[in-house]
């Protein structure tokens, strides 16, 4: 039985517009037997936070191209991506990349 996990989710670069414009979400994930993975977190976000047009955020089982995922200020690619196991107090950031100039 894993301990409850609280994480700080942040959305930026425009991704916050899919979440009522709210950039910071302090979230307590429900207890579950195994550690929470980032894959499960994405499902949880889709079911609990995403208000509209989920395809602008999630495609298949991962984030759509053009969104960077950061775990504690590092690119999730360095941390195991979908298989990363969340630790209590982790900071997970989803940033849309910008193209304007």
């Amino acid at each position: 039985m894993a301990a409850p996990v609280s994480v700080l989710l942040e959305f930026g670069g425009g991704a916050e517009l899919l979440f009522d414009g709210i950039k910071k979400h302090h979230v307590s994930l429900p207890d579950q037997p195994n550690p929470w993975t980032l894959r499960q977190l994405l499902c949880w976000i889709r079911q609990n936070l995403l208000k509209e047009r989920p395809e602008l955020f999630i495609q298949g089982d991962t984030v759509r191209p053009g969104i960077l995922v950061l775990i504690n200020d590092s690119d999730w690619e360095l941390m195991g991506e979908l298989d990363y196991e969340l630790q209590d107090r982790d900071n997970v950031v989803f940033i849309s990349t910008l193209h304007g100039g």
Binding site: L56, R64, G66, D73, L98, G100, G101
Partner: protein, 283 residues
């Protein structure tokens, strides 16, 4: 013709005295800068401050590329343009403004869109490339041509209250495609016309971009290879993010040659290299 400055004149020493006195830069840094060429892709909100500060600092040659002409809606952030130059090519307008500030820089305006045919040859003629463009197809094209030509790419972007900056393809670091192998779905891409942008945000990002160009050109090296700077102007916060290393399976890096350059970036990205259509719809 190659840049070939071997020594500083007395006028140079007077003009650049405040940066010559910096031990990390000094006469060596100034001479390296004077012998360096930079291609600025996009003479808009980022390109204006970038070109302005590189010209002031004494870069040797500044290529200035933009297909567009000055419009009234540019003037809130594109600070090298002017009311009486509306309708004139941006690239020429920037060159004209900067000649007054530093006539010792060689300005090369290109009033053209960057095409796959043009990109590699043009980029090969410069030491450092600054991506100040405003659309996804151009960003992929610039990246691929920089990887093919082996040139460092200092890339910045700005939208609404947000800015991002990183350096690609530099000293073994990742390229734009390492980070973004697939283009974003077109319906998720917002441009400055649709989303808006506060003028000081490209101002800040363009100055920071110029600084990284100067650090690379003068041999100091960049702080942003494998690191992305993210800025939000509403909360006044900057964040340095560690990004992934170069990917062995990257479509560009795995075969860094002219063959990585696509024929058509607009269809690859599903969007236009000009934001004109959307602008017209908005107004």
């Amino acid at each position: 013709p190659d840049l070939d400055k071997r020594a500083l004149s007395n006028a140079d020493i007077l003009r650049f005295s405040r940066q010559l006195v910096l031990p990390e830069f000094g006469v060596t840094g100034q001479l390296r800068l004077a012998n360096a060429s930079v291609l600025v892709i996009g003479c808009g909100g980022l390109g204006c401050p970038l070109a302005q500060y590189l010209a002031a600092a004494g870069i040797g040659r500044l290529g200035l590329l933009d297909y567009d002409v000055v419009e009234m809606s540019n003037l809130h952030r594109q600070v090298l343009h002017a009311e009486n130059r509306i309708g004139t090519p941006k690239s020429q307008c920037v060159a004209k403004s900067l000649r007054d500030l530093n006539s010792g820089v060689e300005y090369v305006p290109y009033h053209t869109m960057l095409s796959p045919d043009l990109a590699l040859n043009l980029i090969q003629q410069y030491d450092i490339i600054a991506d100040c463009s405003d659309n996804v197809p151009t960003r992929y094209l610039v990246n691929d041509a920089c990887v093919a030509a082996g040139k460092p790419l200092v890339s910045a972007s700005a939208l609404r209250w947000d800015g991002q900056l990183t350096v690609y393809n530099y000293q073994g670091g990742p390229c734009y495609r390492c980070l973004f192998p697939s283009p974003p779905p077109p319906e998720t891409v917002t441009n400055c016309a649709d989303g808006g942008v506060l003028g000081m945000v490209p101002g800040v990002m363009g100055c920071l971009q110029a600084l990284e160009v100067l650090k690379i050109a003068s041999g100091i090296g960049s702080s942003y290879s494998g690191v992305m700077l993210m800025y939000n102007a509403l909360d006044g916060r900057f964040r340095n993010i560690k990004i992934r290393a170069k990917k062995p399976d990257c479509a560009a890096c795995a075969n860094a040659s002219a063959s990585v350059i696509l024929k058509d970036y607009e269809s690859f990205c599903g969007s236009s290299a000009s934001d004109k259509c959307r602008m017209l719809n908005l107004l």
